[in-house]
Structures are given as C-alpha cells and as structure tokens.
Symmetry: C2
Subunit: 653 residues, 2 copies
C-alpha cells in the first residue's frame, strides 16, 4: 500500500471539494473533508473496478448513502479516471448541465450507482445491490468459473442511521446474511443541529449486532486499519459488516472542523485560505501529481483485472452457452412476451387474483423477475410458481423475497436490485400503504427504474378494515409523481394486459392498482382494445351516433358505470375504461379525440378524490370520494360514501 | 390480585372476539386471543383509569399499536365499563355506525386514545404521549401536588417492531429517557406470511438495549409475572421499558392457534365450536359473570381514585390559581391571538424566515405550543424564543424538541403530543421530505389533530440541491389528502396570517409551504385582505372594469405573476393570491365569484404539477412543472424548467 499516494489522494479530494463548493457557493464540505481518507483507499486500493468501463458487470459497487457529500464521490470518480466527471464538471459543481449535480444523480455519470440524498435510502439500495449479487452469482457461477464475485460498499452518516428505512433494510440484510455487503459509517458525531448528543446517543454497534451484522471499529485516519477491517469484513461471508470509523467532520478546515457549521455550507474565502495553508494546498482545484501518477498506474492494473475477467467470462460462455444466452437476456433490459391467461365474459375474479395469474405467466418466461411483498404474499396475491423458489440464505437462486413488514426498505431494495443490472424487480403492499414507501417510489421514477409496484386493495371497496386501510387520495397521489406509470385495470382481461404493459415499460416504475373484490369480465366494444389500451384508454361500450355523454371510469368503477348505463336506459352513453390517465393525456389530440370526442359531455366515476379529473369533466359531473372512508362491508361502505351506480345514474340525469 | 377473575376476563375477551369477528365475517382474532391475559390484567389491575370519565386528564393511556387486534381493545373497554362500546357495538363489529370499527378509530369511543392500524405508528404516538406527560408534569406539578402522574402503555406486535417508524421513535424515546413509557411486545413469532423465521430474526431485546431501554421478558400467560415486570418497568424512571411477552397467536383456538391462519380471518363455524369447547365458552357473546362482578367492584374503586385526584386537583387549584388558569388555557383547544410581526412593502424576506417571526410571536402567548424539526432547526427556521427552552431529560419544561433525522417518527410523536391533551404541536422538515412522514400526516387528518407541519424549501427555487430536494408533486399531493389545510403564503405578511390561520384551525393538521428564497412584500389591492385571505384567496392586484384575465398564483409565484403583469403592459389583469385552494373551493359560489368572476379567462401559475388546477384554467393556460427538477442556482433552474415571468407573459398573450 502506497501510503504517500493515498495521502495525496485524500488531499486532492479535500482540495477539489473545498474549491468546488466555494465556487458554487453551495454544497456540503463536511463529509468529503471528513472522510477523504476512506475515499482514497476505497478508490485507490479496495474497489475492484475499471473507470474505463463503468458498466462492467462484475465491478464492485459503491453507494454514497450520505448523498449530500457528493463532492466526495465526484472528486474520486474524476481522480480515478471516470470520464463522465471532468474537471470542468467539478468546476461547474451544482450548475445546470454539469454531471456533478447537487446530489449524485444516477445516469449523470458512470460510477454513480444510485441517486442519493434522501437519507437512509442509499443504504437500503445497497442492500438491494447485495441481494442482486447473490441472485446473479447463484444462477450463473459454475464450479469452474466464478464470473459474479463482487462486493457492495456503502458509506453512511448519522442521518442515514437515524432514518427508519435503514433500520428496516439492515434488519433484512442481517436476517438474510448478506456477507458481501460492507457499510462504512462515518461517525463524526455532528449533524446539522449540532452534536449527536442532542438526539442520537443509541449504541449503534450493539444495534447492528442485534441485527446479526459483524460490527468493526476503527479510525477514519488510519489507512492500514481501514484495509485490515475491510479484509475482516470480506472474511465474514455469512454476515454483512458495518465498519464504524471515528472521524472529524470537515477535517482540515482549521476553524470549522468538528462543528455543525461545516456540514452544509461553503467554507468562505477566509477559511478556504486557512484550510489551504493548513493542508498545504498550493492552488485552485489542486490535484496532487502523486495522486495523478498513482491512478495512472492503477488504470493499467484495473484494465488488466477487467480483461482477465473478460477472458474468464468468455471461457465460461464457451462452456455454458445456455447460461450465456440467459445472461444476455437478463442484461437486455427487455422482457419476453408471456402467454397471458385468458378469460371468459362474465368470469368473476378480483384483479389482484388475475394479477397473480399474469405474474405467474410472466415469471415463467422472464426468469430474471424477482420480488415479493411486505408480509402480504397472500392478500397481495404475488406468490410465484413453486419452481421459482424463495430467496433465502440457503437458496440464493430463489426469486420470491420475503421483505418482512418493511414497505419502505422493500421498495428501496427493489430499486437496488433493478439498478444492479440483470434483474427486474417487483414489490407489493396494500395501496394505502404506498404512503410508507413513497420516497423510494420517487427515486424509482427519478432514476427511471422499471420496478413494478403491485398495490392491491385499491379503494374503499376494501370494506371492513376501514379508513386506515381504504385508499382515497392514493391513486391521485401516485399519478402526479412524474414518470410513474399508474395502471388501474377494470377486469381480469385488462389486468393481464396491465402486467404486460408494466413489463414492456422499462423507463420507470409502474404502479398496478388492483382490487380486493371480485370484478366481472365485461365485453369490450373496441375489437382492437388490447392495442388501444396501450394509449391509456379505450371504448368499452359504444353507442350509435353522437353520444349524449362519455363516461370515463377506471378499475372497479367501470363495472359500476356499465351498471349505471343499463339503468339509465334512454341515454346514449359511451363508456371509456381509462387504465392510465397520464398515458392517455400524453397521446396526440387525434388519438384522444377518437376516444373522447371534443365538445361532448364527459362524466367521470372513480372511487377516490376527483383531483386531476377536472380536466375532463365539470366538478358536478364527477362521482368521486372527497373524504376518508368508513369501516363496513364493501357494498355498505360504498353506499355510505355515495359510490354507487344509482348515484352515477343521478349524475347522468 | 384476583387470578380467577382475571382468567374470566381473559376468557370473556376471547369469547367476544371470536364471536364478533365470526359474525362480521371479518377481522383479526390472532391478537385478542393471544394477548387476552395481558388485556385482563391491564384493564383489571394495571391501568389507572376511570371508564366513567374517559377524558380524565391524569388517566393512564393505553395505545393498541397493533390496531388490527381491535377486538382486544373493544372487548376490554366494554367489559371495564366504557359506555361508548356497547355490546351492540361489538355485535356490529366492523359495520357502518358501530363504534367498534375495523381498526380503532380515535373519536369513535372514549378509551380509544389513537387511531391505529398503520403499523408502527401506535408505538411512535405512544412516545408522543409520554413526551406530553413529561411536559405537563414539569409545568404544573408542585412539590406538594403531583397532579400529573400517569403512564403511557402500548401493545405492539412483530409488525410494529419491523416498521422503521418504531425504530426511529424508540431510539428517540431511549435517548430522551422516557421513564413512564411501557411497551408490551406480543411476541408470538407469527406474521401473515408465516413464521417470523422467514424475515425477522434480529435480537429485539438487544436492539432495545442499544436504544437505551430497559428490556424485560416474561410469559403472556402468567399474571403474576406481568404484574411484577410492570412494577419493574415503573421502578425504572430513567428509561422506557419494553416487556417482551412470549405468546401464542390465537391461543384457545385448538386447531388454528400458533399458525398464520388465525392472524386475520374469522375462525369459521367449526373452529368457533372447537374453541368454545376447548375454552369452556357456554354461548354467544359470552361474558363471564365473575368478570362482570369484578369490574363492577373496580368501577367503584376507580371512581374513588379519580375523585381523590379531583380533590388533589382542587387543592392544587386553590393554591396555584395562576397555574390553574394556564392549565385551563392549555386544555381549551383554543389558541391565543398573537401580536404578529408587521412588514413594509418592498421588504425582502424568505417566508421561512417570516414564519419563524410569526412562530416566535405565537409561542410567546401560547405557552402550550411545542415542537421542532428533524435536524433542520436552522434551515426550517423554527427556533423558539430562548425562554421557551429545549425539551431534554434535564428540562422537561422545554418546548423545542430535537427529533433527530427521523421525519416519520417526528410527525407521529407530534400526533401523540396533540392527542394527549394540553398541547399544540408542530414539526418541520424540507417539503420534499413530507413524503417520509406522509403516513403520519394522514393520521393527523383522520384523527383531526391540529398538528402544524412547517414545510420549507417549497419548490424548485431550492436550487442547487437538485431534484431529490426540489418538491414538484408535493403541494398537489398534500392538498388531496382529506382534511389537510395546505397554506402557501406569498410574502412575509401573508406568512404571519398563515401561522395565525394554522393556530385558529383546530380540526386538523395544517401544512405551511414556505420558501427558502427571499420574497418581496407586495402591496395588496384588497384593503380587507387579512379577512379575505381566510376564504383561501384574495385580490392582490386589481384592474379597472372587467379583467382580460385573472391570474391565480400561490406562494413565490405571486411575485412572478406581478412581474409578468408589469411586463404585459396592455392587458387588464387581476392577480389573485390563493393561499389555500381547498379552502377557496369550499366557499359558497357567491364568495368565489367575487374573486374569480365566472366566465373570465383564468391563468394559473405555480411551480409544481398542475394537477387540480384544471378546474380553474385550461391546460394551456397553466404554467406548471410536469417533470423532476434540476440542480442549479434557483434562477437558472427556474429558467431551465420554464418557470419564469417571461413564460407567463407568453401565456397571457
């Protein structure tokens, strides 16, 4: 280990971070200065990576869970040779168009494995990466060729460890014995409000032992120790490891280090000067020549390591052509079309159940789809075919994942699985509890990860469980999140297409809104409905000539609209099933107008808040629910809340 | 201790639960059957309460965090004499109109201290109750008279302990040494998906020790042991206690106990018969006479205990008339009007900063307002006047609470503080992280608790922190939650009124959307604007005669609209600041029409998704942001995203 070079790397991280943040007049110097030594040894010695190929499948992953310390990551990516973070990007830190954005953003540059900043989620995503690693290894490694053999590293601060999502994910990781997960805890005892003494004095080490982790301790400023502890972490193959590193926030800034002031504000010109003098930084955006030389030599070394892996991979491919074919399928990002279940008109089946049939069919031909539920496997109806197996310590090839009652971590872990590469992931809970995982769904959308969220019990028709379990505002709240596909199928046939649409869409998450209650499979007026539905809406019931009104309904309320139309005999009514309002609204007017002719009266019916539907209908023409639900059998609750075909008939007039 | 009577109470809990759930054909027998013994001793011996006065200020509180086991609570409330849960209610369990709703709902019956069901939150609210108890005791107890001296008890299952929110709240409770908080953990090792072995094998006891709790263990089925452990818990005054009780889910159901089947489904007629035979239950909705007799005697005893307290309270009142006056104010549910800060036209001040001035003024005259931030005291600008103090182990009279980086627990704890009685509470974080606490906000609304959520950094004008920190869909997502007041003031003057409105509103939570950036105090055309704003909107800029268009804007975009109007010289434009869309929409048409004349063209400008505004303007007349944000200085980010006065001028045409 070249200690001098590592010291110079750390110095360069500090120099770049100080200057970038000062120039932007915005940013968080505390972490990059405080943890520069860890960064130096990580990117210099510990990580098995190749900056010239950031997509190398068997690279080690590093996730900066404390995403506010983004200059830590950018400095190291730049120094070690990742082309996407240029010195210009660093000089334009936090400016429009720079890949060195305020917080690390996935997709902006190779080497940024995940978008982080919302605290705790980086650690939870790291758990997902580690899950995916085991699944990939179990499927593809052979006795002769270990083509999947990488680690997942993460760096957390106090904030990450206070957030509940990291607790959930860590308990999960301990239970499942993720031996290739190594978390560094930058323990500097300072948060924005001051010392951790004011709010966070728990015994973190003991807590992680309780989760079943290996807990190691050391100093942030001792390279040999960090190397030794990391070796110990690797040697423990049955448990994830957390390495608690005592550190000093903002180390190197003589007057601000070890205070809350340095957490999230530039040093200011005077302190920049003082820090430079203190550290021996000769100029602006300084990179020590020794650091440069070190990484230059390393780059050759890393290329060779990757080339060796490539040879291994080729040898493996030759001996295992079937596995190789599957490997390529796994990494194609494309789903294979499934033999979807068929139904007959009049079949009565809950869309959650129909969802399960579709999921099972899709699972059979997409062997890289894995996921599960937050302890609601039966109620969410997300069991997989038995040959898919359950993912456990003993069976890493299993595909059903028991997440436990941990919705938020579940979704973040699914993000990690998707980000890792090779897998599609899904997760499930009651729709009302989508609130528990909402921050992770937002990251799915922001990172454009095609995680499928199976959200069952999608309305007040849940019934007896009452208002805490009846979604009211949730459909609307999911729809308004940019990039989230919300699909609410109206019967079993639509559900099969919905799952197919979810798999076809690989640019972001899909939320499937599925019913608890049975729905009747209805005849579809549009003979091409399986195509048309991909525009977000199609005509379920046609009427001759100009309709008196078009009724838009979604999910279970399509059946209710059909019932109302039958009751409202004399009226010429067209009924539209709008499986995805956003998808429909994104169509060209020409397409929209064939479904909803301009000028015609539009009535909307949906068992949730009306917000967003005012674009299509007058408030008085919308049958919605603008209050919390009520505990009672579904039909009684619906009556109580006015969500009935009679109420719709009244609106039709 | 009358063991025989306690056994008969437990038997009655089982009998009522079995029958109510079977009759409803819906519900969760696992917990009430498995924990009936705890219920018997809690309601029979341990709780200091008086069913004839459920609002008694110094009663012990019990929160059923595992809310799905609602029949546990209803049975015990009925048996012990709470009038609001009649036998008829139990016979109508989970039916419309019964106070025995699917999950316990606050407000439905005395003795239901909180709405529970969304897992983990009951425990977090219990922490809030315990916080409030210390605050009340510190303010009002005297050396001579200890008028506040009650405990907070909670019952949790595996689900509660897997949820991240309970981890956050428990770490907080341990740090703050909440000695009067006693949590029972019904450890039955079964969840919906099966054994806890599949997902939850952490060492819970060790974890709680790590949090700084006293950890005790025993059997659910040994009354003496439970009594002894509870005494031990009370004896430890410096730490909260968790009592881990080994139990058998569904105990008494001979063929289903100790299986996941009994968690959440009725026993079915055969198993009802088998359970009755097994337990010795002679008939429908059986209540053992011994249980009845026991509680009858107890009721007299409890009345006496409360009467003794009442005498104590009167004696204290006589000696401490000033304190008594304050006590009454604290419990009135009404806020005192504050001397709000005044501003001058042209003042440039961020609404978060103006919010702080208002908060400080309000705090000065409302000594029962307490709260804080999730480690963003400075950025959220929620510091209190120094004489308000900080709530710590050493200063229980302090009013500023350091919640740590635990948004979800923070909000749930604030719910608990509000529910306890005597206090108003507020919490704060960046608006984008309202997603982290959303499930608790939903409970604030459902329980109609006037918690104030201070959500700063309310738009893309956050700037450099980028898309993870820039709210886009959040205003819309908060507005659609039933019962949540969302107020987005446009300058410092409006901010003062917004805080006043938040305090006036005591029927639910208020979300204050406040800016990070400076906003200019603008002249208001409506001389009565301080009244009119309470309708949700008022006219900021008037025009002579019929306007060509009305521009609705909120928050920082009111300034942007004024700028655009100045640029669009020739047009006759009226500008409306709509501090609360929902409040405005709830006004009679006559009031709405004075602000927005029917038929006039309406333009809307808001730095977030347009969803919900389509009621007021055509899509092409709405200046909104329909994508995630971008990292860059605020003005550059706004330009990049098209949120500028020039873009608005273009729409004006």
């Amino acid at each position: 280990m070249n200690i001098t070079a590592l010291e110079k790397i750390a110095l360069s991280v500090r120099a770049l971070s100080i200057d970038a943040i000062q120039k932007a007049n915005s940013g968080h110097p505390g972490l990059p200065l405080g943890a520069a030594e860890l960064g130096a040894i990580l990117y210099g010695e510990l990580l098995r990576h190749d900056p010239s190929d950031p997509a190398w499948a068997d690279r080690d992953r590093f996730i900066l869970s404390a995403g506010h310390g983004s200059m830590f990551l950018y400095s190291l990516l730049h120094l070690s040779g990742y082309k996407d973070i240029s010195l210009d990007d660093i000089k334009n830190f936090r400016q429009i168009g720079s890949s060195a954005a305020g917080h690390p953003e996935y997709g902006m540059a190779g080497g940024i494995e995940a978008t982080s900043g919302p605290l705790g989620q980086g650690l939870a995503m790291a758990v997902g990466f580690a899950v995916a690693q085991t699944m990939l290894a179990a499927r593809f490694n052979t006795a002769q060729h270990k083509i999947v053999d990488h680690y997942t590293y993460a760096l957390c601060g106090d904030g990450c460890l206070m957030e509940g999502v990291s607790a959930e994910a860590s308990s999960f990781a301990g239970h499942h014995g993720l031996g290739k997960l190594i978390v560094y805890y930058d323990s500097n005892k300072i948060t924005i409000d001051g010392s951790t003494d004011i709010a966070f004095t728990e015994d973190v080490a003991k807590r992680y032992e309780a989760y079943g982790w290996q807990v190691l301790r050391g100093s942030m400023y001792n390279f040999e120790e960090i190397a030794r502890l990391t070796s110990q972490a690797k040697a423990e193959t049955q448990k994830p490891s957390i390495i608690i590193l005592s550190s000093i926030i903002g180390k190197g800034s003589p007057n601000k280090q070890n205070t809350a002031d340095i957490h999230g504000a530039p040093l200011g010109p005077d302190e920049v000067a003082a820090a430079r003098a203190n550290l021996g930084i000769p100029g602006d955006f300084y990179i020590a020549p020794e650091a440069q030389d070190f990484f230059k030599a390393k780059q050759t070394e890393w290329k060779k390591i990757r080339a060796d892996w490539q040879s291994l991979f080729e040898a493996w491919s030759k001996e295992n052509p079937e596995k190789r074919k599957e490997w390529d399928e796994f990494h194609s990002g494309k789903a294979a079309p499934a033999n979807l279940p068929a139904y007959n008109e009049g079949d009565k089946i809950a869309t959650r159940t129909a969802g399960n049939k579709a999921l099972q069919a899709i699972t059979a031909v997409n062997r890289n789809l894995a996921g599960g539920s937050a302890d609601l496997k039966g109620p969410n109806a997300v069991g997989l075919p038995s040959d898919a197996g359950t993912w456990t310590k003993e069976n890493r090839a299993g595909r059903y994942i028991h997440f436990g009652i941990r919705e938020f971590a579940m979704a973040a872990i699914c993000n990690g699985i998707a980000l890792h590469g090779g897998f599609r992931s899904f997760c499930s809970t009651f729709m009302v509890f989508s609130d528990y995982l909402r921050p992770a769904l937002r990251l799915s959308a922001l990172m454009k990860q095609p995680v499928v969220y199976v959200l069952t019990h999608d309305s007040i028709f849940v019934g007896e469980d009452g208002p805490t379990h009846q979604p009211i505002e949730h459909l609307a709240s999911l729809r308004i999140m940019p990039g989230v596909h919300v699909l609410r199928p109206a019967d079993a046939e639509e559900t099969a297409e919905a799952w197919a649409m979810a798999m076809e869409y690989n640019q972001g998450p899909t939320a499937l809104a599925l019913s608890r209650q049975n729905l009747t499979v209805f005849p579809k007026a549009d003979p091409e409905w399986k195509n048309t539905i991909r525009t977000g809406a199609y005509v379920v019931k046609q009427t001759e000539g100009e309709p008196d009104a078009v009724i838009i309904a979604t999910g279970s309320e399509v059946g209710l609209a059909l019932e109302a139309a039958a009751k409202a005999g004399g009226k010429k009514l067209r009924i539209v099933s709008m499986i995805s309002r956003e998808l429909f609204e994104s169509q060209p007017a020409a397409i929209r107008d064939t479904i909803i002719p301009p000028g015609v009266r539009v009535i909307v019916c949906e068992a949730g808040v009306r917000s967003g539907w005012e674009r299509w209908a007058k408030v008085e023409d919308i049958l919605s629910i603008e209050r919390f639900g009520e505990s009672g059998p579904a039909a009684k609750a619906a009556e109580h809340l006015g969500m009935t075909s009679d109420a719709l008939v009244k609106i039709i007039g």
